[in-house]
């Protein structure tokens, strides 16, 4: 229990840090890109919207920094992230709300699958060291050195085209209305296959390697020798003795590297024009849509933290030592 509380406190602290970074960054932007954007939409912006943008970007010079900070928090807690310029006049929170499910479905599921598959292969490769599986290692190294987005480009060039099963862009068939029916879900699934495969191929190899190395290290421990000496079956020793212990560092590694992974996978969305957060981020960069940029950063950070918390819970379930301490 104490472990969990500690982690919770840490995540709350991190959220605070991320929000504070988000508060100060726009105040470092020299010049007034936001002011000029506001000026461009002058006639169409309501006074409320202008106020919220002033708070977000610190354009209100008369208030003290502390006052601005308090205003900023108050606005965030109301869920107001300002208006997006690219999708004017949609609020940023709506834009993100539309994009988030796509990213969670694509990135979330493929990351989990890649971790599970990679760990499984790593267990095999580590246990049967010196077998043909070791020949896979250079291949996985090469694959993990390829940027995700480039692999996506190659996949599009090779596998899509007229008459191909795989669509080259988008999240669903143009013309379909998003709804929970079989036609739409089927189309969405078909569109996500190629991006998912891209992420899988390039992210899996990292897990294979780290799990293999952990297995090799664990396999030399005394308790493995004892398990063998007791005459336990090969399978049982491999899975219940070696893999179970080798998994723990891999899970905490998984939690900590989620931030890196999510950053990489967002780019796959860009290449495939997949309607998720990564693609929105790309459009926001191109259009200098600062409110959207800030909002997306905040949401990505919070989602990564939530995922981290879940990984911690998994760790708690797998490692009895963490439960004992409390």
């Amino acid at each position: 229990m104490r472990f969990l509380l500690q982690r919770l406190a840490f995540y709350l602290f991190t959220v605070w840090a991320a929000i504070t970074i988000n508060f100060f960054l726009p105040r470092l932007i020299p010049g007034d890109p936001v002011r000029s954007l506001i000026a461009r939409y002058q006639g169409q912006l309501s006074t409320d919207a202008i106020d919220s943008l002033y708070v977000l970007f610190g354009l209100d010079q008369e208030r003290s920094l502390w006052g601005q900070y308090v205003d900023y928090w108050a606005q965030l807690l109301r869920g107001d992230l300002g208006l997006s310029f690219t999708f004017f006049p949609t609020p940023v929170s709506d834009v993100i709300g539309n994009a988030l499910p796509w990213t969670v479905a694509l990135v979330g599921i493929t990351t989990l699958v890649s971790f599970a598959l990679g760990t499984g292969l790593g267990v095999l490769a580590g246990w049967r060291r010196g077998s043909w599986l070791d020949g896979l290692l250079p291949v996985t190294t090469f694959l993990s050195s390829i940027p995700y987005f480039w692999l996506g480009l190659v996949a599009i060039a090779l596998l899509t085209g007229p008459g191909s099963f795989f669509p080259s862009s988008g999240g669903y068939e143009p013309g379909l209305v998003p709804a929970f029916d079989t036609i739409f879900l089927g189309s969405a699934l078909q569109h996500s296959l190629l991006p998912a495969a891209t992420i899988l191929v390039s992210s899996m190899s990292g897990w294979v390697l780290s799990m293999r190395n952990m297995m090799v290290t664990v396999a030399a421990e005394d308790y493995i020798t004892v398990a063998h000496a007791k005459g336990l079956g090969e399978r049982r020793v491999a899975l219940h003795y070696a893999a179970r212990n080798a998994l723990l560092p891999n899970i905490s590694g998984f939690a900590l590297s989620l931030g890196f992974i999510v950053g990489g996978t967002l780019l796959v969305e860009i290449v495939f024009s997949y309607p998720g957060l990564g693609f929105q981020l790309f459009q926001a960069v191109g259009a200098k849509d600062y409110p959207l940029l800030q909002g997306i950063f905040l949401i990505i950070t919070v989602s990564v933290l939530v995922a981290n918390l879940l990984a911690d819970l998994a760790y708690l379930a797998l490692d009895p030592r963490t439960r004992k301490e409390g």
Partner: protein, 353 residues
């Protein structure tokens, strides 16, 4: 001139490796890293890129930005990697771009490694409140997604050149190294030689510099290479999505233009394949060096020598992990007759003889 400095750094370890094998007796004696096949392959590839980074602009057959009448030509004798929509030579762009990639990669790596060493070793060695707060700091940097953070920061900076990007990447990517170093330092702190140094009244900083740091060399260098990989990827990514300034050539810029000019739709595969392969090759080379270091530090990870082994009496045995291969019976009996006779119970294979 920081350009050659960064790249020469990369070249020096490879130098004696490529030349030295024939000249000197055994370079592996002094530098065990060079005996490792993976590390050698990586270092040679890395050296190749370093050379290209230094002399690439002179090698390039064309000015990478110059337009010509050969629009969107596939690879040919005249243009090895084909041309862009403006008739620019892609081979020249890749050659010229190498410098920027290595420069940013190694600068960011150095910045991040310095920070990681300072934060990690201090936290691990001092313990207490300093450790707690430094650990929280590095964990915060670890869980905040680095790439989106770099993107919003560089979007806030109006004109971001190579150096800004390198600093930005360095400042956001030190946390992993710091974490690993802290853990290593913690385990070193209680070792006998450190305790002994403390007992003889050495100052804390002397212990850190002369007792702890030398034992962390492998971890530090593998962290450095890891960061360089990350930095190269991030920089190329930033250039690809068009966030860093696109005027100096690097591999990401090539991909940016390929993507924005619809190279895929026009079937111009030669536009993005060379740059991507170069990235993958550089990344693989760095990763191989890292494997070499890892295997040096923990010999268990070595793949060689653990395949099926033939015992003297003709059986093939696959060594299971966790068991040390015992090949003692291969020794001629006459060499150690006394020992055998004196302690027959310890003989390993008594039944056959």
């Amino acid at each position: 001139m920081a350009v050659p400095a960064g790249t020469v750094d990369a070249a020096t370890p490879a130098g004696p490796a490529t030349v030295g094998t024939g000249v000197r007796h055994r370079p592996g004696r002094r530098l065990p890293l060079l005996r490792n096949r993976k590390a050698m392959t990586g270092l040679i590839t890395l050296g190749f890129f370093a050379v290209v980074a230094v002399i690439g602009p002179w090698l390039a057959p064309y000015d990478p930005g110059r337009r010509s009448a050969d629009l969107l030509q596939p690879p040919s004798g005249q243009h090895w990697f084909g041309t862009t929509h403006l008739g620019q030579d892609i081979f020249s762009q890749v050659l010229v771009g190498t410098r920027g990639v290595l420069l940013v990669g190694f600068t960011a790596g150095i910045v991040a490694t310095l920070l990681a060493v300072v934060v990690g070793v201090t936290a691990g060695h001092l313990g207490g409140v300093a450790d707690e707060s430094l650990s929280v700091l590095s964990n915060v940097f670890l869980v905040i997604p680095a790439l989106p953070l770099i993107i919003i920061v560089s979007a806030a900076i109006p004109e971001s050149g190579d150096l800004t990007i390198a600093l930005l990447i360095g400042l956001t990517s030190w946390a992993w190294g710091a974490r690993v170093l802290r853990a290593q330092t913690l385990s070193l702190r209680r070792r006998d030689f450190v305790e002994a140094a403390r007992a003889t009244g050495e100052s804390t900083w002397r212990i850190i510099a002369f007792e702890v740091l030398p034992n962390l060399t492998a971890v530090i260098s593998s962290g450095f290479i890891g960061t360089v990989i990350f930095a190269v990827m991030s920089q190329i990514t930033l250039a690809f999505i068009g966030i860093s300034s696109i005027s100096p050539w690097n591999w990401g810029t090539i991909l940016y233009w390929a993507q924005s000019q619809q190279a895929l739709a026009q079937g111009a595969w030669w536009w993005f394949v060379p740059a991507g392969l170069a990235i993958a090759l550089l990344g693989t080379a760095l990763a191989l060096v890292n494997f070499g270091i890892d295997e040096l530090v923990s010999p268990r990870l070595r793949t060689s020598g653990s395949g099926p082994i033939r015992t003297p009496d003709g059986r093939t045995v696959r060594m299971r992990t966790g068991f040390t291969p015992v090949l003692a019976p291969a020794q001629p009996q006459s060499r150690q007759p006394r020992r055998q006779r004196r302690r027959p119970t310890t003989a390993r294979r008594p039944s056959r003889e």
